[in-house]
């Protein structure tokens, strides 16, 4: 599981690659730390190369959202595959996030 952080057009973009399962979650949690300081920036979570997301992965996404909202930042999810879309639909996360 790899993550890459980039700043694109004033947006904070985090690229996820591989399987975000329970085992990978603790490291990813550290990797997404740069998103904490997002005042004045929107966040894009790029899932184009994300193959799988577990409940621990969803918790990380939710934590990013919970942190960004009070700062006025939007959190967008980009490029989800069908499996991920299904997980988001089943868990009610489709209603929580915005999609690009």
């Amino acid at each position: 599981m790899n993550t890459t952080f980039k700043e694109e057009n004033k947006d904070f973009v985090m690229y996820f690659e591989g399987r975000l399962d329970t085992a990978a979650a603790p490291k990813v949690e550290q990797d997404v730390a740069p998103l904490n300081d997002c005042t004045g920036h929107d966040i894009i979570l790029d899932c184009t190369k994300l193959e799988y997301i577990s409940s621990s992965g969803l918790r990380i996404f939710l934590a990013i959202l919970k942190n960004a909202k009070p700062k006025g930042s939007h959190v967008y999810i980009r490029g989800m595959n069908d499996d991920l879309r299904q997980v988001f639909a089943m868990t009610g996360f489709t209603n929580l996030f915005e999609f690009k």
């Binding site: 577990s54 918790r59 959202l65 089943m90 868990t91 009610g92 996360f93 209603n95 929580l96």
Partner: protein
């Protein structure tokens, strides 16, 4: 004696400090949940700081005979346990008796003998599980066998110095005072008579032994205590924390676990854990009230129940444990401490005296002897037990060792230890240390981590008791009380003995036999000297009278051990205990005076 000009009611200021300290110890032990060792060390600190005792006197107790012998004995017991001697004994002595009377004999006679050799507390601790299983096999309530077990162990323990901790304390104080050490079998004759009478009393008065429902039976089906509810995808709680959503502490219960859509388990659940659609929320408490959440919070019934005690998921384990005396959980509820988080367990239900306690389990203020149904991780059983020694004891705690040549070796070491010390070839302290050393050298007991078998709390208590004795003598309290009692009771040594033994045994009912013996020893010894009598009958009577405190669970360490597993009530011990206390005290007075001449 300390010279001090200021006196009040005949006692110096140092004497008053000592009296107040001793009284406050008694109060603290009887009425609060401060651990005994902390109370004793606190008292020692007060006596040191106020100058009642010198540093040397204060610390002398920690190197005294009772402390060293106990420490060495813990290692010997560990060796006997690890090599399977004790396991073999528990398996082979009980057998299959025909009726309750036979069962009592099969249980009490070997317990008496073993307690005399291995210390009453060790024997009761060892037998509890075996007796519980046995009681189920015989279809007898565990309480009907556990109480006789405790009596038999204490009675048998009276026969040797090693049998009860207080015997060693008295022997240690005697050594300190006179320089003479007592034979390990010194109390054998009077102890034997009391044991025979005591066992006969239990047999004759067996109908006074209370019948209490077994604690585990109150938790027969876990499904009665837990309910699983599903969070629908469109539930407004999704994305909120369990606390924000009002789903953490609910009417009649609390959330003990979340099972995520991918089978990940969150247990125990922190208040700020987020809810995700598809979560199965598992609640413990009053099921009918918790089911209201379907209506109030839009939760759905899960399609099947995950838990039942017979069909436990491999990822979870239900274990029952009881709250031990002196536990830090007493008086607190799970919401007031971090027990669940620290141990990664969840409290499902609480039973008290064989009945389930109504209401939300997490809000229940726990009491000593309460039985807890805990959901535990599937692994690290031993670690969980080790971390919580002194707080809770698990019912399924089992250590089954392999039998082999070392079993014989360690048994031989034990027998030799008794032969050597009974013929006074070596002092008791040296003998027990030698036996512990040989146990380790011959591989009967693992050397690494050997100190973890030692119950340091008990050693601290034993070490600090000596200082009470020193302070009571030094400040003149022993002299004054001894004289006062002589003035009130006249110069008849028999009456004085009877009064002092009655007092000592009453105090030990409410405090501890060890504490009572340390306080009464200097006074009784002084009385013997003032009367010009042989101190031995006084010493022997003190030894016996502090251990016959059968009527309350506080005074007896063995009663404390069986209190939880037998689902006893506080007053259960008094039914037979008061009568035994009176009869055995009278017999002790008679027999000791027949055996030991006063002049």
């Amino acid at each position: 004696m300390i010279d001090c000009e200021l006196t009040f009611l005949g006692f110096s200021i140092y004497a008053w400090i000592t009296i107040l300290t001793v009284l406050s110890i008694f109060f603290v032990m009887a009425r609060t949940r401060i651990p005994a060792e902390v109370a004793f060390l606190g008292a020692l600190t007060i006596l040191l700081v106020t100058g009642v005792v010198t540093e040397e006197e204060g610390m002398a107790g920690f190197g005294s005979e009772p402390v060293v012998v106990h420490a060495a004995f813990f290692v010997i017991i560990a060796g006997l346990m690890q090599t399977g001697v004790l396991y073999w004994l528990t398996k082979n002595v009980l057998g299959a008796p025909k009726n309750y009377k036979n069962a009592l004999l099969r249980l009490m006679l070997p317990t008496c003998v073993m307690a005399a050799l291995l210390n009453s507390v060790n024997v009761v601790a060892l037998f509890i599980d075996a007796v519980k299983i046995w009681s189920r096999k015989l279809n007898i309530a565990p309480s009907k066998l556990l109480l006789p077990l405790s009596y038999a162990a204490t009675l048998g323990g009276m026969c040797t110095l090693l049998g009860n901790s207080s015997n060693l304390v008295v022997a240690g104080l005697y050594l300190h005072k006179t320089g003479q050490s007592l034979n390990v079998f010194e109390p054998l004759l009077p102890g034997l008579v009391l044991t025979i009478v005591g066992v006969m009393m239990v047999m004759l008065l067996q109908r006074y032994i209370p019948q209490r429902e077994s604690a585990e039976q109150s938790f027969e089906t876990t499904s009665d205590y837990t309910v699983e509810l599903l969070v629908p995808t469109d539930n407004p709680a999704v994305g909120n924390s369990v606390e924000e959503a009002g789903l953490y502490n609910v009417k009649g219960g609390s959330l003990v676990e979340i099972v995520r859509f991918d089978r990940e388990i969150i247990m125990p659940v922190p208040k700020d854990e987020w809810i995700i659609g598809g979560d199965r929320l598992i609640y413990a408490g009053q099921i009918n009230e918790i089911l209201e959440l379907k209506r109030t919070h839009g939760l759905a019934a899960a399609d099947h129940h995950v838990w039942s005690i017979n069909d436990i998921d491999t990822k979870r384990r239900m274990r029952t444990a009881y709250v031990t005396f002196g536990s830090d959980l007493i008086g607190r509820s799970m919401t007031q401490c971090d027990f669940e988080q620290k141990n990664n367990v969840a409290l499902i239900a609480v039973a008290r005296q064989g009945r389930r306690v109504e209401g939300q389990p997490r809000e229940i203020h726990l009491q000593a002897g309460d039985t807890l149904l805990l959901e535990c991780p599937p692994k690290n059983d031993e670690q969980l037990e080790r971390n919580n020694r002194g707080s809770i004891t698990f019912f399924d705690s089992h250590f089954v060792p392999q039998l082999g040549p070392k079993t014989v070796t360690s048994a031989v070491i034990l027998v030799l230890m008794f032969i050597v010390s009974s013929f006074h070839m070596l002092p008791l302290m040296a003998t027990t240390m030698l036996a512990a050393g040989i146990m380790m050298l011959l591989g009967c007991c693992r050397m690494t981590g050997v100190t973890k078998y030692i119950e340091w709390e008990l050693l601290l208590i034993l070490g600090s008791t000596v200082v009470f004795s020193v302070a009571i003598t030094k400040t003149g309290i022993a002299d004054i009380i001894a004289l006062q009692v002589l003035q009130i009771c006249g110069n008849n040594p028999y009456i004085i003995m009877a009064v002092m033994c009655l007092l000592a045994s009453l105090v030990s009912e409410f405090v501890s036999d060890v504490g009572a013996s340390a306080v009464f020893f200097p006074i009784m010894y002084q009385q013997a000297e003032l009367l010009g009598c042989n101190p031995m009958p006084f010493v022997m009577l003190l030894m016996l009278s502090v251990t016959i405190s059968f009527a309350s669970p506080i005074g007896s360490s063995t009663h404390m051990l069986i209190y939880g597993p037998g689902s006893f009530r506080f007053t259960d011990f008094a039914r037979l205990g008061i009568l035994m206390h009176i009869v055995l005290l009278a017999i002790a007075l008679l027999i000791v005076n027949l055996l030991y001449p006063l002049y």
